[in-house]
Every structure is written in structure tokens, then in C-alpha cells.
């Protein structure tokens, strides 16, 4: 399986767009890697530690199309979406390290982060629960007659949850502007797709709701991008929700402590050939005038940014224990 086979020439993807997209994908990859394979192992990051390695094309190829007024409800492998919304590596690192200046001020940890100002709902840990919430965010847009949309992110496992069903159905009935991005990475924790459902395409589930659904190669950032364009247009023009299933693979354990022995030998190797960053770089070399040096340079720039941010975050204060009871209710 060669990467370029699945990534044909697309004239519209000019160099500036390629550069932006690549930046976020590389930043997500390297930042997560730094967190998982250094900070977590050094004990600087506590609790769980999830990465979206190999899935970067999905949050990046979609969120790059979001506007300021849109809302996003990312899931636990979508750091790229947060970066695109302007959330900085500093903030993310401080969050992971439980510092007072992290996005949740140390009240929550790791990927359970977001930001109201930048319209990202922090992950709701109960898998699937973000889907009804997305429905409400979108309802408010229709209520005010805006043309904004909601980008909702979830995984294959989430589609087994009742909330997934209730939420998409309500969105469909009320024709709410939501783009559902489903990353089908073939596993939910240790559970493979065939123990999760008796079908292989989650898009088929969406027949239940009378809304459009399409399937794309989730490792091809421009396939995700183009499907999202169609979906966003559909949603912004009042046609209601749109579902995109992105076929991909989780190139890590479920979280840092999981060696993923349950994944059959060879599967990860096979998918590594479809690495979304390598695929994009190949495209850029072939069609957008980039060369290897550009990539090395970019990676260095990203690593420098991360190094600076780690340094900063390590020096941030922990939350003052005296504040533990603050912020449960509004203080008037």
C-alpha cells in the first residue's frame, strides 16, 4: 500500500494551506509524544495519558475549517483541534501538569481540557456524552439564527452508547448544524470493532437518523478536509447535521500504561505505512514544491516551541490548596 495512491493531486491545496495543516499535525504529534514518552514517564504528568498518534489528520483536517463563532467538542485524541482554536502548548502542558495556569487550573487533568472563550468544550469523560451536548450548542445557534456550526468528535466505541443515539437523533429531528466527526480507529480500549458492533461502517448507523453520512480515509488530511467542507456547507445552510466516518487506526495503546498486546501482530506496522504526516509530506513534495529540508526545519521549530513551553510549564505554580472549594457555584 503506497501512501501516494490514496492521496491524489488536489490543485486547491496550495502551499500555505499545506504548511498550516502540517504545522498543526506535527505539533500535535510532537507535543503528545513529549508528554507521553518523557513527561509522563518522568512523573511530571500524573493520571491518565492518551494520545492521538496516527489520527492527527482528523482533528486538523476538520477543525482548520472552523470559524470563530463555531463550537467544538473534541474527544481525547483531538489535540490538533485545540491547537487550531488557539490553545497554546504552554496552556496544554500546564494542564497536563496540573498547574494553576493550565486550562482547568488544575481542577481537571490531561486531555480533559477546553476553553469557553475559544469555544472548545472540555472533554466529557463519559464516552458519548458530548453528542447531546453538541446538539444543545447547535440548538442555540439556530435559536439565534446564526450560521455557525458545531464540530463534534467521537470514536467508534462511542457509537455503542445510548447518548450517541439520542443525541444524533435529536440533532436530526431538529435539523441542527452539527458536523459529526467519527474516528473509527478499530479499537475502543482493548475492544476491537467486531465486539463493538456487527457492522464495519459506522456510517451505516446513521441511516437511523435520515441524515447524510460519508466515509473517508481518516489518514488523508485532505480527504477529511474536503468531506468537512461539504458537511460544513450543508450545516451552515440550514440542512441539518452531517456525519463523517474517518477510517483510521490508533497507533498507541489506549493510554500510556497500555501496551496493546491485544492488537494482532502486523496491524500497527501496516497502518504505520499510512502515517498521515508522511502522506501529507509526500503530497507536498510531489505537488506543492516542498522538500525534506522544509520538514526538518518545521520539526525543529515545533520542538523548540515545545521545549520553551515545557520549561515555562514546569515553572508554573501548583494551585493553592486554599482554593479547593472555590468555583463550585457562582459567587454573587
Amino acid at each position: 500500500m503506497s501512501a501516494s495512491a490514496t492521496l491524489p493531486l488536489r490543485a486547491t491545496f496550495d502551499r500555505p494551506l499545506c504548511d498550516r495543516v502540517l504545522y498543526y499535525m506535527v505539533m500535535m504529534r510532537e507535543l503528545e509524544d513529549r508528554i507521553e514518552s518523557k513527561l509522563y514517564r518522568q512523573g511530571k504528568v500524573l493520571g491518565g495519558c492518551y494520545t492521538g498518534r496516527g489520527q492527527e489528520a482528523i482533528p486538523v483536517g476538520s477543525a482548520i475549517l472552523s470559524r470563530a463563532g463555531d463550537w467544538l467538542t473534541p474527544s481525547h485524541r483531538d489535540m490538533g483541534a485545540l491547537l487550531i482554536r488557539g490553545i497554546t502548548p504552554r496552556e496544554i502542558l500546564a494542564q497536563y501538569m496540573g498547574r494553576a495556569t493550565g486550562l482547568t487550573k488544575g481542577r481537571d487533568g490531561n486531555m480533559h481540557m477546553g476553553c469557553a472563550r475559544r469555544h472548545c468544550v472540555p472533554i466529557i469523560s463519559s464516552i458519548g456524552a458530548s453528542i447531546p451536548v453538541a446538539t444543545g450548542l447547535a440548538f442555540a445557534m439556530r435559536y439565534r439564527d446564526e450560521s455557525n456550526v458545531v464540530f463534534n468528535y467521537s470514536g467508534d466505541g462511542a457509537s455503542s452508547r445510548g447518548d450517541w443515539h439520542e443525541g444524533i437523533n435529536i440533532a436530526a429531528v431538529m435539523r441542527l448544524p452539527i458536523v459529526f466527526l467519527c474516528n473509527n480507529n478499530l479499537y475502543a480500549y482493548s475492544t476491537p470493532l467486531d465486539k463493538q458492533m456487527r457492522i464495519t461502517d459506522i456510517a451505516l448507523r446513521v441511516k437511523a437518523y435520515g441524515i447524510p453520512a460519508e466515509i473517508v480515509d481518516g489518514n488523508d488530511v485532505f480527504a477529511v478536509y474536503q468531506a468537512t467542507q461539504r458537511a460544513v456547507e450543508h450545516a451552515r445552510s440550514g440542512e441539518g447535521p452531517y456525519f463523517i466516518e474517518c477510517k483510521t487506526f490508533r497507533m498507541s495503546g489506549h493510554s500510556a500504561h497500555d501496551a496493546a498486546d491485544y492488537v494482532p501482530r502486523g496491524l500497527r506496522e501496516e497502518w504505520s505505512k499510512k502515517d498521515p504526516i508522511l502522506m501529507l509530506q509526500k503530497y507536498m513534495v510531489e505537488h506543492a514544491g516542498a522538500d525534506e529540508r522544509d520538514f526538518v526545519e518545521l520539526r525543529q521549530r515545533v520542538l523548540d516551541e515545545i521545549a520553551e513551553a515545557v520549561e515555562w510549564a514546569l515553572n508554573q505554580p501548583f494551585p493553592d490548596p486554599a482554593t479547593v472549594e472555590d468555583g463550585v457555584y457562582e459567587v454573587r
Binding site: 466529557i124 447531546p132 446538539t135 435529536i170 457555584y329
Partner: protein, 324 residues
């Protein structure tokens, strides 16, 4: 002046707040065209239109999640659960997401979840439950249950204006069994303030909801026997009005903690905890709890009557504690 029922008081409160603030909207099963299973929302659709009075699919978790999302994005949802019993279907959304938003990321959730609760209507195990405790025990939620038409109107208005998620429990037996003349001028009843429903000096009954009326009846009968009973109507269960609770405890020194909800893990225990810790020196007798027994709510008349706390039972305990 005509009298206003409890159900009509809630309807008026919602109506006035929807007039006042265009971000307030109502959502739930059968609330629009039908006006709600108990007709609390009758007429609202005609006045406010389909965008603000919304019939939903049959999906409590979906409804709560959608309400929370709408609250995040600038609206003030009022959600109706057709029966409080079915809030259980949205339990994760309420307790794990809505309740924790402010603490986790400073996001306020100005949302009211209204639900008809309580028994004495032959509703059986699935249509009679008092569901307050799991919500009382969830930091981030407020919990309210009015006992009178005045409080019903004043509290629903306060709940709608509140910037935290409020669980608003309406007692379905009270919907049409209590009424009173209401002021014509607008008013609210503050969340977090108990009300001395009846003044007394010998014994305090701390209670809420329908039991306020049961306590009142028992107090009336006790008065005829020369026992002076104070009835404290909590009105708000979270935040509890500790000051009022401790004040009545210190005043009478003999306390009955009464609720319709089942005993073990009910609010009576929490009240005993507060009083037993902070008014211990004032107590002249045991902390008496009266509550429904630890069973599902039975359907049949004879059983439901035996299940629910009664005036006789309250009176008997009152006499016992008085003599203690």
C-alpha cells in the same frame, strides 16, 4: 381575587420569565402542543412559538445534554422531565457533566430541570418517587422543592434567573391540592432561604414539600393539646439554610426531621448531621426522623397510605418528644 393553584403558579412564573428574557426557553417531552403531562406548560407554545417551547423525542439523557449545551452557548433552558423518576435516565449528564462545568472550566450552566415528584397519587413505584438525594449529594447542583403556590412561583422565577443548574422538584400531589391568593406585583423567592411556616416553641419540625402540610396539620392538632410546634419549610435543599435550621433547633431544642422520601440516606440524616454537630449542646431529646420506610413506593391504596408519613404518625412522635 381568585386563588392560584401550585401548578398555575409555576406556569405563571415560567411565563413571566419568558416574557422578561428572550434567552429563556422550554424543552421536554410533550411540553409544547400538549402542554405537558401535568399541563404545567399549557398555552406557552401559542404565546412563545415553536423555537422557545420545544417538543423533544423521548430521550432524557439527550434532553439534559442538549439543555446543557444550550446553556453553554448562551441560552437559559428550562427542561421538563415528564416524571422525576425518569431523571434517572439522564443521571450521567446531570451529575457528571452539567454539575461539574463551573468547577472544571468556569462555565456557568443557567439551567432548570423541572420534574414532578412525590406520591399520594397512586402512581406506584415508577411515578411517585422522591428523587432529591442524589442531586443534593452532587456538588454543583442546587435543589429546590416548593410547598406552596407562592413559593412555587417565586422559586421557579429565582431558579430560572440563577446561573447554576437547579433541580426544581414539583410535588405532583400539590399541583392542584393547594392554592392561595398571590400578589399581583412580580416577586421572587430567594434560593437558599428556609421559611418558618409556623412559629412554635416546644418542638421544631424541619421538613419540605408536601410534608410541610402534613406537619402543619399535626402542629394544629398538637396545639389543641397544648404543644407548640414550629414548622420550618426548607424550600431549598441545596444550599441548605443552615442558619435557619440551627436557629429553630436552638430555639426549641427538640427536633423532628420529616420527609416523604425514604429513610436511609434521606435528607433527615444530613439534617441530623448538621444539628448533631452544631447544636449538640442545645438538644433536649433525640433527633427524631420520620420518613417513608426503605421500600419502593407501593401502588395500592392501603400500602401507599401505610408507606407515606401521616399526620397521625407525626402527631404521635410530637407527643412522645414533648414528653421526653
Amino acid at each position: 381575587m381568585p386563588q392560584t393553584t401550585y401548578v398555575e403558579a409555576i406556569r405563571q412564573g415560567i411565563w413571566e420569565e419568558m416574557e422578561r428574557d428572550s434567552t429563556v426557553f422550554l424543552m421536554g417531552e410533550d411540553v409544547a402542543v400538549y402542554g405537558g403531562a401535568f399541563k404545567v406548560t399549557k398555552g406557552l407554545l401559542d404565546r412563545f412559538g415553536e423555537m422557545r417551547v420545544v417538543d423533544t423525542p423521548l430521550a432524557e439523557s439527550g434532553i439534559v445534554g442538549a439543555g446543557t449545551g444550550a446553556a453553554i452557548n448562551g441560552l437559559r433552558p428550562i427542561l421538563e422531565m415528564q416524571f422525576a423518576d425518569f431523571m434517572a435516565c439522564g443521571f450521567d449528564q446531570i451529575t457528571n457533566f452539567a454539575a461539574k462545568c463551573r468547577y472544571r472550566w468556569g462555565q456557568s450552566i443557567p439551567m432548570v430541570i423541572r420534574a414532578p415528584a412525590g406520591g399520594n397519587i397512586h402512581g406506584g413505584p415508577f411515578h411517585s418517587q422522591n428523587v432529591e438525594m442524589p442531586y443534593v449529594h452532587t456538588p454543583g447542583l442546587k435543589v429546590v422543592q416548593p410547598a406552596t403556590a407562592y413559593d412555587a412561583k417565586g422559586l421557579i422565577k429565582a431558579a430560572i434567573r440563577d446561573n447554576d443548574p437547579v433541580i426544581f422538584l414539583e410535588h405532583k400531589y400539590l399541583y392542584r391540592s393547594v392554592k392561595e391568593q398571590l400578589p399581583t406585583d412580580p416577586f421572587t423567592v430567594p434560593i437558599g432561604k428556609a421559611n418558618v411556616h409556623r412559629e412554635g416553641s416546644d418542638i421544631s419540625i424541619v421538613t419540605y414539600g408536601w410534608m410541610v402540610h402534613v406537619a402543619e396539620e399535626a402542629a394544629e392538632r398538637a396545639a389543641a393539646e397544648g404543644i407548640s410546634v414550629e414548622v420550618l419549610d426548607l424550600r431549598t435543599l441545596v444550599p441548605l439554610d443552615r442558619q435557619a435550621i440551627l436557629a429553630t433547633a436552638k430555639k426549641t431544642s427538640k427536633i423532628i426531621l420529616l420527609h416523604e422520601d425514604t429513610l436511609t440516606g434521606g435528607l433527615g440524616g444530613e439534617l441530623a448531621g448538621i444539628i448533631g454537630e452544631h447544636a449538640f449542646e442545645y438538644l433536649d431529646g433525640p433527633l427524631v426522623r420520620i420518613a417513608s420506610p426503605d421500600t419502593p413506593v407501593p401502588f395500592s391504596e392501603t400500602l401507599e397510605k401505610a408507606f407515606l408519613p401521616s399526620t397521625d404518625q407525626v402527631l404521635e412522635k410530637t407527643r412522645w418528644l414533648y414528653r421526653y
